[in-house]
């Protein structure tokens, strides 16, 4: 099979799965609804409860899950290739810590702010992720020649630890209700009630995905080594810059929408590589689509398993992801 055909076939298969999951997921819940009835245009909207539940109550949440899942998985793929480290995640370089600190501050200061219908917590977390990205970038770029991946990693890990300490400090100073609200946000959740926050995050994600799509072959070369990639025609400095900034931007937007949902960005790329190999022209789209389906299913479990109680989706992904990842490590070694 030619490479072009392989990319097409594998991507289509994953797209089919993601699409099926995202159409099916909104039909499941405390009130079961009929898909046929929800899409029956002959019934007036006001009388069609199934359609209202499907499109108004549940679809935004499913779409948010798809967007966040796809973004975290794809950003994980990009950073793992760029850092040449299969254990890197979208959060390794400090984005989630910055976002969490931003959200924490918005909660404790009772920040009342709204831009284009987006409320203060997502705004503050997005701002926090950009600041964290900026700090890590500035540190790594201060090296003489381009970005140093070592400095990126160290700066990211250190910033994560430092921001976590700041978060604990702010939490200690805040009252009980505020602290609880912030902790709840950090567990990750897709409790999205309208299309507005999705539309707000979408442009950043789209821009980043265009950048991802343009560098899939470059990611293959980067994962073989910077020196050899340069000799094969890759502008290393530019490639690393684009990879880091686009992955961080997309992750920041995703985290502002769903909180720092863990494990997606590491488990999904690993599984996909086991299934389809390491060619990023296939791994990247397949991971994005699989990440979307995976997070939507996790969120489905989160809202139905202990209904009417809702488990934070970040807890579900961690509960599934942790043991699964350990199993994967043991099985492969």
């Amino acid at each position: 099979m030619t490479i072009r055909r392989r990319v097409f076939v594998v991507t289509s298969a994953f797209a089919l799965v993601a699409f099926a999951v995202m159409v099916w997921a909104p039909t499941v819940g405390s009130t079961p609804i009929s898909l046929a009835r929800a899409f029956d245009r002959s019934i007036p909207w006001d009388d069609n409860v199934d359609a209202q539940i499907f499109f108004v109550a549940r679809l935004p949440r499913v779409l948010a899950g798809g967007l966040v899942g796809a973004t975290l998985a794809a950003a994980g793929v990009v950073l793992q290739a760029m850092l040449r480290n299969p254990l890197a995640t979208p959060f390794t370089l400090g984005v989630s810590a910055g976002a969490s600190l931003g959200a924490m501050l918005a909660v404790t200061t009772n920040l009342e702010l709204s831009v284009l219908g987006v409320t203060s917590i997502p705004l503050a977390s997005f701002a926090g992720s950009l600041i964290a990205t900026g700090i890590v970038y500035a540190l790594a770029a201060s090296q003489r020649r381009g970005l140093s991946t070592n400095v990126l990693l160290l700066a990211g890990v250190t910033l994560n630890a430092f921001f976590s300490a700041l978060i604990l400090f702010v939490q200690y100073l805040s009252d009980f209700a505020e602290a609880l609200r912030a902790i709840r946000w950090m567990m990750g959740g897709l409790d999205v009630a309208s299309y507005t926050p999705i539309l707000a995050a979408l442009p950043f994600v789209v821009v980043s995905f265009v950048a991802f799509a343009m560098m899939t072959r470059t990611l293959n070369l980067l994962s073989v080594g910077a020196e050899s990639a340069a000799a094969k025609g890759v502008d290393i400095v530019r490639a690393q810059r684009v990879a880091f900034l686009s992955a961080s931007l997309a992750t920041g937007a995703a985290v502002s929408l769903g909180g720092p949902i863990g494990f997606i960005g590491i488990i999904v790329p690993h599984l996909v590589r086991l299934l389809v190999g390491s060619d990023h022209r296939i791994v990247l789209p397949a991971s994005a689509l699989f990440g979307a389906a995976f997070l939507v299913l996790c969120d489905l479990a989160a809202r139905t398993l202990m209904s009417p109680l809702e488990i934070p989706v970040g807890v579900v992904t961690a509960l599934i992801g942790g043991p699964f990842f350990l199993w994967l490590l043991v099985k492969r070694s």
Partner: protein, 265 residues
């Protein structure tokens, strides 16, 4: 014959204030040349190859490819004319041998272009030329050291470049593979017209296939010229502080070097 690649009085340091690793070196590679770069550890061989391939820019001096400075060319343009075999390749993920070789086509493809039949044919020819075509579908990390090295060389050949720079291509290989690689390089040079510069610690390999040598010590060129003129006991002593016997081997017809003793300096 015009020089294909010309390092014109180049110097390089890795960071401001650091010592010069390459210090005023001039090297000329003519079309069709097969040159060896010899020198002790830390003499600047690897750095010189990086300057010649343009993956590092000289702190002073310039490197000319034909009549243009490497600075003026994009990485893509350079990669279509100069291919490099680095000392070590360690993969972050698992790739098949054919995938590794196809990566050599990167500089010939557009952003969204996928390798077509021509690219696959070129990759397969490169694998045939290095005797690795039967390994195409094997995973790179499962191959032996010699097989890996030949796959890497195939990937460099797939760049369709006229120049090949190799950094200690036989360093970690056993005697059999060393011979395989050296005879393969010699054949690529003679039959496919690939111009080569090879850095190596193996004086006998250099003596057997290289027609000219550049001897480097402490970032400077100690001697350069045709192998027979340069590979003398005096030069080897100056290069490595080692007394050596140099003979012409009857059966192979090339020079052989037998190290005798190290001289303290």
């Amino acid at each position: 014959m015009p020089d294909l690649l010309w390092a014109d009085n180049v110097s390089f340091r890795y960071a401001a204030g650091a010592p010069l690793v390459v210090d005023g070196v001039t090297v000329r590679l003519a079309d069709g040349a097969l040159a060896g770069i010899l020198g002790p550890n830390g003499s600047g061989k690897t750095t010189l190859l990086r300057l010649l391939s343009g993956t590092r820019r000289p702190s002073a001096g310039r490197v000319l490819l034909g009549d243009r400075s490497l600075d003026q060319l994009s990485r893509r343009e350079v990669a279509r004319r100069i291919a490099v075999v680095p000392q070590e390749t360690e993969l972050a993920f698992e790739y098949r041998a054919i995938e590794m070789v196809l990566m050599g086509r990167h500089a010939h493809l557009g952003v969204f272009t996928v390798e077509g039949p021509d690219d696959v044919r070129i990759a397969e020819e490169a694998m045939a030329a290095t005797g690795t075509i039967h390994l195409a579908q094997r995973f790179f990390h499962e191959l032996s050291g010699g097989e890996k090295q030949r796959v890497i060389i195939a990937g460099a050949l797939a760049q369709s470049a006229t120049l090949l720079l190799l950094d200690e291509p036989t360093a970690s290989l056993d005697l059999g593979y060393q011979l395989d690689i050296s005879s393969m390089l010699s054949r690529l040079n003679q039959e496919h017209g690939v111009t080569m510069a090879i850095s190596t610690h193996d004086l006998n390999l250099a003596a057997s296939i290289c027609r000219e040598l550049v001897l480097m010590r402490d970032g400077r060129v100690l001697a350069a010229g045709p192998t027979a003129d340069v590979l003398t006991p005096d030069n080897i002593l100056a290069l490595y502080d080692v007394e050596a016997d140099v003979h012409v081997h009857d059966e192979t017809g090339h020079m052989t070097v037998v190290p005798v003793r190290r001289i303290a300096r």
